[in-house]
Symmetry: none
Subunit: 337 residues, 6 copies
Amino acid sequence: MEWATSTTVRATIVQASTVLFDTPATLDKAERLLAEAAGNGSQLVVFPEAFVGGYLRGSTCGTAIAYQAPKGREEFRKYHASAISVPGPEVDRLAGMAGKYKVHLVMGAIEKDGYTLYCTVLFFDPEGRYMGKHRKLMPTSAERIVWGFGDGSTLPVFDTPIGKLGAVICWENKMPLLRTAMYAKGIEIYCAPTSDDLDSCPSNMVHIATEGGCFVLAAVQFLKRKDYPPPPEYVFANEQDLTPDSVVQRGGSIIVSPSGAVLAGPNYEGEALISADLDLKEIPRAKLGFDVVGHYSRPDIFSLTVRDQPASIVAFTSSAPAAVITDGTKTGSSQKY
Amino acid sequence: MEWATSTTVRATIVQASTVLFDTPATLDKAERLLAEAAGNGSQLVVFPEAFVGGYLRGSTCGTAIAYQAPKGREEFRKYHASAISVPGPEVDRLAGMAGKYKVHLVMGAIEKDGYTLYCTVLFFDPEGRYMGKHRKLMPTSAERIVWGFGDGSTLPVFDTPIGKLGAVICWENKMPLLRTAMYAKGIEIYCAPTSDDLDSCPSNMVHIATEGGCFVLAAVQFLKRKDYPPPPEYVFANEQDLTPDSVVQRGGSIIVSPSGAVLAGPNYEGEALISADLDLKEIPRAKLGFDVVGHYSRPDIFSLTVRDQPASIVAFTSSAPAAVITDGTKTGSSQKY
Amino acid sequence: MEWATSTTVRATIVQASTVLFDTPATLDKAERLLAEAAGNGSQLVVFPEAFVGGYLRGSTCGTAIAYQAPKGREEFRKYHASAISVPGPEVDRLAGMAGKYKVHLVMGAIEKDGYTLYCTVLFFDPEGRYMGKHRKLMPTSAERIVWGFGDGSTLPVFDTPIGKLGAVICWENKMPLLRTAMYAKGIEIYCAPTSDDLDSCPSNMVHIATEGGCFVLAAVQFLKRKDYPPPPEYVFANEQDLTPDSVVQRGGSIIVSPSGAVLAGPNYEGEALISADLDLKEIPRAKLGFDVVGHYSRPDIFSLTVRDQPASIVAFTSSAPAAVITDGTKTGSSQKY
Amino acid sequence: MEWATSTTVRATIVQASTVLFDTPATLDKAERLLAEAAGNGSQLVVFPEAFVGGYLRGSTCGTAIAYQAPKGREEFRKYHASAISVPGPEVDRLAGMAGKYKVHLVMGAIEKDGYTLYCTVLFFDPEGRYMGKHRKLMPTSAERIVWGFGDGSTLPVFDTPIGKLGAVICWENKMPLLRTAMYAKGIEIYCAPTSDDLDSCPSNMVHIATEGGCFVLAAVQFLKRKDYPPPPEYVFANEQDLTPDSVVQRGGSIIVSPSGAVLAGPNYEGEALISADLDLKEIPRAKLGFDVVGHYSRPDIFSLTVRDQPASIVAFTSSAPAAVITDGTKTGSSQKY
Amino acid sequence: MEWATSTTVRATIVQASTVLFDTPATLDKAERLLAEAAGNGSQLVVFPEAFVGGYLRGSTCGTAIAYQAPKGREEFRKYHASAISVPGPEVDRLAGMAGKYKVHLVMGAIEKDGYTLYCTVLFFDPEGRYMGKHRKLMPTSAERIVWGFGDGSTLPVFDTPIGKLGAVICWENKMPLLRTAMYAKGIEIYCAPTSDDLDSCPSNMVHIATEGGCFVLAAVQFLKRKDYPPPPEYVFANEQDLTPDSVVQRGGSIIVSPSGAVLAGPNYEGEALISADLDLKEIPRAKLGFDVVGHYSRPDIFSLTVRDQPASIVAFTSSAPAAVITDGTKTGSSQKY
Amino acid sequence: MEWATSTTVRATIVQASTVLFDTPATLDKAERLLAEAAGNGSQLVVFPEAFVGGYLRGSTCGTAIAYQAPKGREEFRKYHASAISVPGPEVDRLAGMAGKYKVHLVMGAIEKDGYTLYCTVLFFDPEGRYMGKHRKLMPTSAERIVWGFGDGSTLPVFDTPIGKLGAVICWENKMPLLRTAMYAKGIEIYCAPTSDDLDSCPSNMVHIATEGGCFVLAAVQFLKRKDYPPPPEYVFANEQDLTPDSVVQRGGSIIVSPSGAVLAGPNYEGEALISADLDLKEIPRAKLGFDVVGHYSRPDIFSLTVRDQPASIVAFTSSAPAAVITDGTKTGSSQKY
């Protein structure tokens, strides 16, 4: 295990909105915000869940139990068209941005694999390389209408010069066994791209920081009604009460230290860059009292098994292991733990 | 599995201090407070960690690395003398109190087994019966000087008329695998007797409530300098700055609902009874969105093994299994999950 | 588990010699010494290994590998005649002595069961009752010529008003698993009747005290050449160099506290009563740092099984379990652990 | 089982102090002392507990029960920074030293695994190879604040040309079941790196030698006040009474033969090389009378189970068993017994 | 267990023949020989197998496989008529003889129980009391035509003033588990009424003496052709070669000491009283080297279960246990072992 | 069960002496005698107890009760050095001999396991394979000073083309329960390597043959004073009466048939090859009258339990069952009974 060579890392959360159904414009916006963060000296930039491809807040894609409206089917077709392939040209463009601005980039994106969509987080390094991805394991409630379920093979933690870096998406953060897997891989900078703007979200993040002994960066989109198409194309549940400037997702991005101290946020004001300097020495200081997979664990009583092989519905025997390797997940992760 | 027959449960946390090194007086105080809570209609009364036997806050029992002061050895002897055997006369007295005042009683106590002490929580029912116990698995930092380590055999969740009841002590609450075991047993009223009065403690409790979809009751002692013997018998780290009325543990007891709403507390004012009415219907309401061991789990990826047999350093073949059965832990727990 | 009700116990080791091949005279001598110890206020009197029946130091009963001299067979016959049955009249007499002088009595004796002899320790209480016995499990070297091998059914620890009392004989004290069984039964006053007068013996006893966190009382006979029959009936290995007053076993009885402090002895001077006041509060004080079967054990890694049922070469189905029960071993022991 | 091919082994204990918080300087000092020992013909060199990384004698890392001073957290961070990864560059350097000076090297070190520290002993052979390690199973008292708990997978005994070699650390030496595991693996040269300088320590070592029928080498650091940072950075319990030359750990390194004879030490004078020639023929000579896991054992009554698999809090199914094998523990140990 | 109070016992074997089919005459002959033995000072007199009732040597009672001659049925009727009931008048007469001549009497007899015959040995004491009996467990070859099979309830060993006394009949003596049962009861004077006059019989008896560490007394009838009815009533297999004085069973009675020394016999000369003085001190002398159920047993490996309850084909529930008690077997046996 | 394919087996006992403390020379001598026996057509060659490693007749290794002379410890060390490991190079050499001369070889040897010695018999087949071993269960008298105690796991009976083959050592032959275990495994050729040259030994062997219905081959060393080192290194009990040619163990090897007929020996003359042709048809002929575990047993009354699992004082869970399987004992034995 290598130890982080920097002792302080400047990190920035981008609290902003997707340009919905316009992925090139979304990438332009991403680059603009990334440039600004890099100009402020940031070494790590974290975007919210589904920033590329967008988050269909308030929608059910025309679907109720045992009912699918044709309009909803068309909405899904557009959503699929806005999603990106991994690898693919949008991934290349994002890698290029990271290299140009010399930052570690953590980007929420909607990934398409055939015709199933995944809520994915992509990782890039300052040399402009795509490092790997995490696919959300468990969509929440109505998300299950539009997104598939990730498997155990994309739980990377990358051993980088700014510390061990990984991401867990939205309410996955409430899954104690998933978090434990991340802790076991030694995560130090725990990114939480999310769409949760509830009052309890900051408490969840403070808890994770003190449980995992890591920095936590929760990145949330700030969304107004006008960020979505107007009715009748897109109708919110309480559409009649909304103006174009009504806030439909209030942000709440936050940065927490391993001791549970809030370093920045929660910001409920608007689109913003939310930054903090992360003193990595705080990590061992916090571990003196509590080390969740180390001295404070009880492996004699509890042991967690993580099946992290790809789960494939069809395996062609002539080409078994290739996909994993090209993904880079294995080589880049901290799986020595 | 039985479903709770009440829909609302009045619960009270006793935020108060031990009469240190005087166990009979502590039990008298417990009874007085219990009577008061019962008088207010409380059906469940939860006392803090180590209420019987006491919590040696600020002490190290004269111990530093490779050093044990004779004074500390004597302090430990007194602490051992104040601890209780389970079963034993103090347990009988507590059972009698629960029966007299017709409450479910959850009581933190220091248990002695030979000459090793355990930080234990005891459970009693309104019929005046001792139901079982939970021994703290992992003492924190300097607590490891004075307390032993529980095993996996005392993780009960009791299926009672007021809901499924269990307890996790102090920083055990930061152990995700232990919590997952409690969730898997179906815990609905999650008691957290603790000595943690840090700013992050309420966040931990809110997180657990939303993660577990359960009510959380964190019970903390409120302690002043005068609750401990005066120097030189007992010396706090910053002794010179303290008056008899200096607060050395500020309480912070709190009750949280499954949705993460704070129903009572945190109370940092003084000794108090902190009560709330728990609407058990909140539990299924919360589970729609997130059920940590149900629809939101991924058993294809994560599986947790809990070794909950007693761990015995010596087994005599002529008398092997008796102790476990008499403890009642097995019969009272919700181990159908 | 009951806790000792006395806090200080006066204990005496009798360092004296058997009247060899004259058991009535040996019992007379035992009573004389017991009376003296009781007169000094002693509550516990411990005699050496094989005090009743004698220890054939320096003998091989005429035996070498594949050789048995007739003289040796006759020596064994006399030794058998000097040995006692348990129960039996000599046991009754010893019980009477303990009752008359109101002491706990721990007596080394040669027990006969059929024609096999066992090196046994007998326990008596101040009410004049025989409590039970321990048979030496493993005789040492040439002792294996004259003594049989005890089984796991006589490893009692008695829960008495002066503390938990047991005995381990001679080099059994070097058997770590046997000692661990005694520790698991909660032994507090660890008697070690022995014939080991080597330089290393006091170190063994200090070690056991600090390992077990108990008081250790090693009782050794003090023996001169004249305590054995003169040649040619009895010939020592170096007979020619000996005078009647030559010391052939130099004693070395010692009393050690749980902290490893030597409270009395080692005495190499002659026959003597060796006494100390045992402050039972020293036990919890010592356990703070080390509790061999408690907080300092690792039952997740190490577990010891003790087969403590009687091992019987032939069982008659019409009368199976009686012998064990009447021995008192089971009822008197501390087997709640 | 191979038998040792040498009949006499020259062994040296290095009784010296760490250069605290300066691991490169500590390694320089180790090499200097190793060269000196090798120059004297030593084939085996044993360093004390925690020589690399240091032993925080008298400290509690600012920790009392329920209290952690920020200063203590920073002390822990520095301690973590001084600790070494296994494998890692410091291990490579130590292996190189052993090869250069053609000795078997047994080195106490603080190992970091993630952010938990372990008190570890490392083994190297004269060909310059790292052989494996033992992690201390149970830290003592306040050590539990700074060190984690080893599992059963690192109990190696190495079958080397100079005899079967293993190590047990500090008060682990008082754990009878752990020692029995080592005896069962056939240990002949039993190294005891320790920080115990109590009067009882030599007795413990003599006992182990006679119990195990092995050579015992207890290596203790000799430490003065000036070996630690001056106040206020580092404050001893009795700081005000100390001068820079005050001895705070008096050494006491000792070498004992299987018969219990003390071959060298205990040395309480100062830093020193303590050497003895170990005549391996003493081992069978001692076993005639007592063989703890052989003719003097009672497997029909006592049997010890040792769970020696790695205890892992999280197992990733894609990469399960690799770590153990590369450690060398399994291949190098004497587990044929 | 009581120990024999005599040290030397004069014992006599009666080597003589039954008066076939004339039980009163047989009893007269028995008394005559008993008187003679007593006159010689004998304290113990042992008669051969089937002395009362007779041994149908050379007969098959007219039976071959699947064939029974009427003559044989009549022979069996006469044999049944000569047999005795136990208790009964013949038993009373034998008890009277033992009392009159003040000897322990061991008598072989054919016992009838209904219409099944048993080969039985009866025991009487010098006070003229019937003590109990042993029924042969397993008849040999053609004996199975005329005798039934005993059960496990008549294996007595009587604790008498002349030592522990029992009997095993003929080739039962080759049953190692039966012998072991007798050894476990502490047998010291092992009577072997037998009809075996083979060359190997003395070896069997020497073996038993050294195996059991007991005195062995093998009593054999001396039989000529004329002791049986003349042809055609009784026809020997080789009838044509026989004269009335032809020896058809040559005796061979023998007395062996515990060391294997032959004290008297084997006598192949004729009817005779064969006597020896048994020095009971030889028993402990022999046990020094070998004690078959004591120090030389391995109860951890071998354990023998003896079902010694009566085996009854029909049990009437109103009167279960009476028969056993009135037999005296239980009260007189040495079942303390 | 396979039936022996030969009907007559030529068997040879080697009555000869060890070259004491010179194992290579002993093996040379073994090969010379084996070649000679094979040259005579022998198919089975049986060597005495302890032929490889030697039998320390008349010695006590300097040991009396509570006394061990240094000279004796050194004698034990030399004895340990002369003993062999199983498996090991000497076992390989013996296997090679059996293969070269195409015989079944039964060889007495001193086996070392750690530092405990066992009196063992090794079995080899004509294909040059090591088949398994039997360790003596119970050493006799002073042998207990130098040898350990075998467990129930090495009681093999091998089903070979020359019949079912097993071995019982010296006074084990007087253990009725051990013999019964061998009978139950169907032993046909019962080898008895022994050091018993008493007058009673041939009787013991005749008894076993008639009891077990098997051929018995008792192999005894013939030893003169000069086969041992001269005084003062080695001193017999009656040293002063001996010349170098004094016979100190007179042999007495003997071969007995199932009917009890002596086929060869006892030979008390000197070193010799003692041979007989074993007609395997004698076995069923003898079983007509007596079959000890067949028609002549009483399983309704007597049942023997044999605990034949390995008895291990320490079990490491990572490597439990390997040793037993590789020993070959299980696969080669006749455990179908």
